[in-house]
Symmetry: C2
């Protein structure tokens, strides 16, 4: 019998939950009204909520300059704890150290929290982008967001006062680490593999998911419900597709689904690491890393996000990577396979470009059931039929953006 | 990059190789001719060879009474090292402690080694069978072998002088731990999953194997070339079937095949543990344990061999279990699946009893390609066509002996 003791949170024995409740929250809200207001982007708001619910354990607030620099350069904070991506708050003016400020969502105007400013520092955006994204190309959607930041980063410990619209708008899917851990414990699971999703699940994702289930106690399908780049499938459609797939093709006892409020950063390898860090906080022992994890365009090699895990120092991260090679349907194998398991030729395998898939879906063309399950395809067709032509920008098909057979070599 | 340092042998930093070579061997052979002869069964001969090549590291000879008792009762030798199954030599007479004896194969009459007798003890066969096989039923083929042993166990350190006919008769497949470790190191593998086989590989085994490859650096298909019970498929036919499957349906760079000279004991859970112990010696980090591993008849529950791994004390065994649930083809999934991944009904799944398979193969009946690959079936048909009717006893189909849907519960 596996013991049901879950993995501990990152860099801490317990979740660091910064969200206030009840009277404490009410009092802080009143106080917040009186403080100077700083308006946050959706990325910053998502990060703040995530600190609130313990998703970013052990962070206690937005990063100081020393932490920001350490994270950019060495993926290490001043306390020695591993952290792969800056969690920062920018503003167009400085505050004196010790100033209490009110943090407001730019999207909803809601008061989201307060922060005691400990320091303000100028952002070397080029430095950050080069280190985190390995590029300063403003076409990169993550770089664009960093470049559009204001001049100063404000650092300091935060108190969080709201989870915004996420619990209501994504009821049944939005989940906190406390909640996921409770579910895993009740199921008696110890080894849980997390599947990161920001797209509908096609058969390749189903294959990764099922391998993970075969070798673990259960699977956590964890989907982003924060902001994506234009052209990505919106969260409600995606949630629906995934629920339909799980309903029809998974043993529901082995799967837990959840949604999390962060924006995509498209930082490839660095974001893969961040995904593992916060999945550990959600109670997962393993993080599935497939082809082009959290990538965009051609900025990262297809398995850069796997390689970066192998280079971490001992003890950096408890949540282990579950690396899976490039997967596809092979007509000769008569099943799903990967570059590691299938010996057949390129022409025996089914690859579909994002462009071809989008075209087929919006024009009622044929998409093979070996690529995607018919009930999922039906939902996607419905979605594409309903959007205006000018919105039909390139759909990023994770893992199948091209038909090029870039084969991963032995590690 | 994964470091290519392999797992250390069981209970030792280096392989304990007891096989003599060159002049040392020649001299010991001459001396052996002059010593009192003890004739060994095939099981004992296989065990001796295995000690010779380091497969049973850290054993230095046949077990003393204290080791035998500790192994039967607590799976622990007097030195505290984990060991799940007795490795003993029986004889119908005692020798004085200190006597050197000559060990002869009863099958080939070849001198296989020498032993300095350290002690002789009466075998409590009931006690051994109850502990090791959980039964004293003489119909159990492993129990039968223990019960047929002579009265005394002779213990003592051995020198091994021959690998018998295995290197020649199974050229290209017979392999020593030194050889497999060298291959793994040259491939730069670190995580290697071992697949135990004593039957041809059907699609269920292929599925286990491919899951293992997806999550490891490579797979070691390790087949028994020692003695089986009547009705099991002989080694030469099986080797041929497996080679054909690997040739056609595996990436050969990810698979190493090897054969080992032990007899099957059919000890279910205890033998599953022994399989992990010696796979560690062969350099494997993981041992695949599927349904009814090393079982026979209905003596063991379908997942007893998995449960026993969870009950080991910390540090007992470095080689980890890779447990896989009951697998099958599911027509609704449109692929291979297991009880953990498939939500569909019994009637959507393909099960084939051993009797049905044997009947179909020997009478040119239809076996679905979803059960077994056509080139493998062709070889098996050929084999069955060539054997006499009276030899067609029940074929044990590992994992598919019945169509009963005994579902494994959560651990």
């Amino acid at each position: 019998m596996a013991k049901s003791k879950l993995i501990s949170p990152h860099g801490s024995d317990t979740l660091k939950i910064l969200l206030l409740e009840g009277k404490e929250r009410e009092d802080e809200l009143k106080r917040a009204e009186t403080l100077p207001k700083v308006v946050m982007t959706t990325r910053e708001t998502g990060d703040l909520i995530f600190m609130g619910i313990g998703g970013f354990t052990p962070l206690e607030g937005f990063m100081t300059e020393a932490d920001w620099k350490g994270v950019c350069q060495d993926m290490k904070m001043t306390n020695g704890i591993f952290w792969p991506i800056p969690v920062t708050l920018s503003h167009d003016q400085k505050f004196d150290a010790g100033t209490d400020i009110c943090l407001v969502s730019g999207e909803t105007q809601e008061i989201m929290g307060t922060m005691k400013v400990s320091e303000c520092y100028k952002i070397d955006k080029e430095f950050e982008c080069k280190n985190v994204f390995t590029t300063t190309d403003p076409e990169h959607p993550g770089v664009k967001v960093v470049m559009e930041q204001k001049e100063w980063n404000l650092a300091g410990p935060v108190k969080v006062l709201s989870e915004s619209y996420f619990p209501k708008e994504f009821a049944g899917i939005y989940q906190t680490p406390t909640e996921s851990r409770k579910i895993f414990e009740e199921k008696g699971w110890k080894t849980i593999a997390a599947l990161q999703l920001r797209n509908p699940m096609h058969r390749s994702h189903e294959y990764l998911a099922k391998i993970a289930i075969e070798v673990s106690d259960g699977l956590y399908i964890h989907q982003l419900v924060g902001k994506l780049k234009p052209g990505d499938i919106p969260a409600d459609v995606r949630v629906n597709c995934i629920d339909t797939l799980v309903e029809n093709f998974f043993d529901k006892d082995r799967v837990v689904t959840g949604g999390y409020p962060l924006d995509m950063r498209y930082a490839g390898p660095r974001e893969g690491l961040l995904h593992a860090v916060f999945r550990q906080n959600f109670g997962c022992s393993h993080m599935i890393i497939g082809r082009d994890h959290a990538g965009v365009g051609n900025y990262y090699g297809p398995f850069d996000a796997q390689d970066v895990f192998f280079k971490l120092w001992d003890g950096a991260l408890k949540c282990k990577m579950l690396p899976i090679d490039w997967t596809f349907w092979c007509y000769k194998c008569g099943g799903m396979a990967s570059m590691k398991t299938c010996p057949h030729a390129k022409e025996d395998r089914l690859f579909l470009s994002g462009t071809a898939l989008r075209k087929a879906l919006s024009e009622a063309g044929d998409v093979p059931a070996e690529f995607s399950r018919p009930p999922v395809l039906a939902l996607l067709r419905e979605y594409y039929a309903g959007i205006k032509d000018e919105d039909k920008v390139e759909v990023k098909m994770h893992g199948h953006a091209t038909g090029d057979a870039k084969v991963k070599k032995d590690k």
